[in-house]
């Protein structure tokens, strides 16, 4: 519950517009991150069947490791904040989730390592940049009709 301001009535947190927007923000990041994780997983299957698809696997793996780790930390942090002081204590799951999320940018390889891997693919002998643009343009062509 949140309220206390003069003239304000007590309201459930979920009824507060800013809380709603923050929850949506978290949900959007989670959904987008999940889509990216599945794209990375699929790229492994594709590369196992056809070695010409390995460059895309390497690119999307570096991107997914970086982005999903960042999203996990951000989402866990914002969830913790929403619960307030309680969220920081061990009485709630948010503290553990935040701590668990923090391992991802370390465990999966720090940002700088992913960035160097990406550079090998797009600025070296590999034509990763062309592949990336091709994927982007293909997605634009197949976007929903509305």
């Amino acid at each position: 519950m949140l309220g206390g301001q003069p003239g304000n009535v007590w309201q459930k947190l979920i009824e507060r517009p800013m809380v709603q927007k923050r929850i949506l923000d978290i949900a959007v990041q989670w959904m987008a991150g999940s889509a990216l994780a599945f794209e990375a997983a699929r790229s492994f299957d594709d590369a196992a069947k056809d070695s010409r698809k390995e460059p895309w696997m390497r690119i999307v793996t570096a991107l997914a490791k970086f982005r999903t780790a960042e999203q996990a930390v951000w989402c866990a942090q914002k969830a913790l904040e929403l619960v307030g002081g309680n969220g920081y204590t061990e009485d709630y799951a948010t503290a553990r989730q935040f701590r668990d999320a923090m391992v991802l940018p370390v465990w999966e390889g720090p940002e700088q390592i992913q960035a160097l891997e990406l550079m090998r693919m797009i600025a070296g002998a590999e034509p990763g940049d062309k592949l990336f643009l091709e994927k982007l343009r293909r997605s634009a062509m197949h976007s929903p009709p509305r």
């Binding site: 517009p17 709603q20 929850i23 959007v28 959904m31 987008a32 634009a140 929903p144 509305r146």
Partner: protein, 130 residues
């Protein structure tokens, strides 16, 4: 051309410019590697989400929820320069409120109010990456 095509095409154009600049001076790649990582990592998210929303619209009774997610994600990752706060709740927030209030959930993109996005805000107006 719909909103997602405009968004993705604009992003592709921006990235193409950035890649050309990088290819011209590959010895300086490490100086901008992190910026490329930040920028590029948002694109496959959006592409995958757009593809998924297309599947839902075509195969799942015009369910446009994920289309709203795509647009919210695009606005979050590539905010336009002229972002003016709006006092009317977004289509995604209206959808969320239906769930919170345990009301019937409109699923089609028309019911959700996910009309094609118009105007300058849908196109990334920031300078190329480099």
């Amino acid at each position: 051309m719909n909103g997602e095509q405009i968004n993705l095409s604009a992003l592709a154009g921006t990235m193409e410019d950035s890649f050309k600049t990088l290819r011209a001076e590959p010895q300086k790649a490490e100086l901008v590697a992190d910026e490329f990582l930040h920028k590029m990592s948002g694109y496959p998210d959006l592409c995958s989400a757009v593809r998924r929303s297309g599947v839902d619209i075509h195969a799942n009774k015009n369910d446009g929820t994920k289309l709203l997610v795509c647009r919210a994600y695009h606005a979050r990752v590539w905010p336009g320069e002229f972002a003016v706060p709006s006092f009317s709740p977004s289509a995604l927030l209206r959808h969320f409120n239906h769930i919170v209030q345990a009301e019937p959930i409109p699923l089609t993109w028309q019911q959700l109010g996910a009309t094609p996005v118009k105007g300058i805000s849908v196109v990334e107006k920031r300078l190329p990456l480099l």
